[in-house]
Symmetry: C2
């Protein structure tokens, strides 16, 4: 792995663990085993490196979600698979957590990949819900976009509850509750 790659990977880890504000160039360099010079040679500075890291993380998250949501099964089963997917619950969402970072939200550039990723996943789910409505699996009264927002929010909020309590139980409970509401009878 190139030095540039190691820098990006270290930044990704730290952004996930400590967020943008809580991540210092020094910590990144130590984790990557690189010196100051390397970082400022490959990147303009902390925001530039963070942008590269965020883009890579966002891309990965999106690809994973597309894989699960695009899998086999009925619309309900695909949403179920997404919700029950294996997750490192207590670590939270590496993309969603960035929305609590004031400097990320304040930067049009840093926020863009976060927004686009969550939006893309939302659209995917919305399409699946509409599909389920056509097939009679979901009530016609449901709105695809709204349910998609509910699904994503339950996941993102589940991380919050889990981290507050220090246990994944609350995340699982929220997901089960949502599935019980969505379940085709």
């Amino acid at each position: 792995m190139s030095t540039s790659d190691r820098l990006i990977e270290s930044t990704r880890e730290l952004l996930w663990e400590r967020g943008y504000v809580g991540t210092s160039p020094k910590a990144i360099l130590e984790r990557a085993g690189a010196g100051q010079g390397s970082m400022y040679h490959h990147f303009k500075g902390k925001p530039d490196l963070a942008l590269a890291a965020i883009r890579r993380t966002a891309e990965e998250l999106r690809a994973g979600a597309e894989r699960v949501l695009g899998g086999p099964g009925t619309p309900y089963e695909r949403i179920e698979a997404y919700l029950l997917r294996e997750r490192d619950v207590l670590r939270g969402c590496p993309v969603g957590r960035l929305t609590m970072d004031p400097d990320v939200v304040a930067s049009e550039e840093l926020r863009a990949p976060v927004d686009e990723t969550l939006d893309a996943i939302r659209e995917l789910i919305a399409g699946i819900v509409e599909e389920g409505k056509e097939q009679g699996q979901f009530a016609p009264s449901l709105d695809g976009e709204e349910i998609a927002a509910t699904v994503l929010a339950t996941v993102q909020g589940g991380y919050v509850l889990a981290r507050a309590s220090g246990s994944p139980a609350a995340f699982d409970a929220g997901v089960r509750g949502l599935l019980s509401l969505l379940a085709p009878r």
Copy 2:
């Protein structure tokens, strides 16, 4: 307002805006219009002051939620009132956001009020759902604890989606989606 109170209030604001990691004593002092000495006279340091601020914020949030959830109406109506309650969506939840703060989660003391508050609200909602089941307003197959987690998660995750997109729309969509799933027919 006493100096001690001004320090706590300034800290509350900053914790909400920038989180624990992103809040410096210096910023607190400037906002409170106090000097270094005052802060270290009234509090042992940043963690101690933050604890006082978090406790006050948590207490307020809990009281507000209890007021809305304990209001008049059927179980569904009370949950609806909670979900549709006026919120400063783009600012996010002053308590929930702390779960993304590594230093808060790492501290048993700082995390406790966060956990207790969210848990208390969860229990309140769970009780209301059980009540609704008895009254036949909610399906007997629903689990109060699970639905409560879903409701809270939708709110907490709604903030994430809203902040990602820079608009409250996603929060509102998630809430409407959840209400459409919960709606007694």
